[in-house]
Amino acid sequence: MKKLLTIAAIAAATTALAVESSNTFGILRVDSSAPETIVSVPWEAAGGGSIKVKDVVKTANLHSGDQLYYYAGGSYKLWQLNDNGQWVGAMTEIKNGDGTISVPAGSATDTLARGGAIILKRTNPASCFHLYGQYTNSGSSTTCVANGYTLLAPPSTAETDLNAKTWATPGANDNIILQNMTLLHYRNDKWGKLTKTLDSETGAITETVDPSVAKIAAGEGAWYHNNQSEEVTVQW
């Protein structure tokens, strides 16, 4: 069986190469030294289907105590890298202005579909880390976003222009928050960085939107804040 497996590529920079077969594994290098990185789920599990959370991020370049935060249903789950280089479920607490949020331990069976994302928190971040999975680029995948906050990411090995994708239908008060905390609004069917200016005499507010920043680097993701009751979809 092992002979049937093909290691696709140890990607240079943010490029991944692969020869597709039924069992082709890909490794995507993500150049990020941020202590907290929203990490893409670009591929699937061995044999297809959603990949286990604990299998998405390779542990090379990481350190004991580094953490993976999975977010679903309005709450986090946590995995922590142990001294043996394994992701294991762990509990923690996050303080905010409203008190303390308990974060339960992740399960070994929790999975993420392509187009999802998790947050990698590193205590001593190196300049890069690697993502892993069964390589596929067949077909297009669709991510659905319900009301509230959702971590999402383009299942791609190249930079993605969010305005080149098909969205249905973001609300005027929906937002995307990129890895670098750039805040995007949706205006005139485009995502972009919004600037407001005030006419001091009339009180009128003028909006300008810069769509050029609505891009997500390969291997990274973003928060989607759905502020409406209707589901939003994006076809990657």
Partner: protein, 165 residues
């Protein structure tokens, strides 16, 4: 030695330029003590440079029905004010015959305090914990010493509502 000092300041300034955004709201329940609610035509958020006292427009909500009722909190980028030099306040105004400041709904709050309370978010892990910065319940007419407490109660209630949802 002087060159070293200059370099150190430059590095600190670079580190302070974090990307960040503010999550804020003034709902009808926030200003129930306002004596002349019909006069409010605009709600503005301002950033104040605490050294120069210069103020910069951050975000605004325009009142169309005569009653301030922002049904949803608003997010706005405040990266330009992400340093210890800035404080924020929410202002009620009337523009029907030129600008008229009707007062502040909350006292100026320093940037660092806004981050601590999760009204301003700087890191990916803090995003889902966003807590809306509300206009004070005491409104502009008669600011009370307890306005801060009332604001916090409102925020706590919002948090509970979110968790139930």
């Amino acid at each position: 030695m002087k060159k070293l000092s200059v370099l150190f300041v430059a590095i600190c300034a670079g580190m302070a330029a974090n990307a960040s955004y503010l999550y804020w709201q003034v709902a009808a329940s926030d200003y129930q003590n306002i004596t002349e609610p019909g006069r409010v035509t605009a709600v503005n958020v301002w950033a104040v440079n605490t050294a120069t006292k210069d103020k910069s427009f951050v975000d605004g909500y325009r009142v169309e029905s005569g009653t301030v009722n922002m049904s949803q909190a608003q997010m706005i980028d405040v990266s330009a004010f992400s340093s210890g030099s800035y404080s924020f306040y929410i202002e009620l105004a009337n523009y029907s015959s030129g600008y008229q400041n009707l007062g502040n709904t909350v006292e100026q709050t320093p940037y660092a305090d806004m981050v601590t309370k999760n009204y301003i978010l700087e890191k990916p892990l803090s995003v889902s914990q966003a807590v809306a910065w509300h206009g004070g319940s005491s409104g502009y007419a008669a600011p009370e010493p307890t306005s801060g407490l009332l604001m916090l109660l409102g925020v706590a209630a919002l948090g509970l509502k979110r968790r139930k949802a």
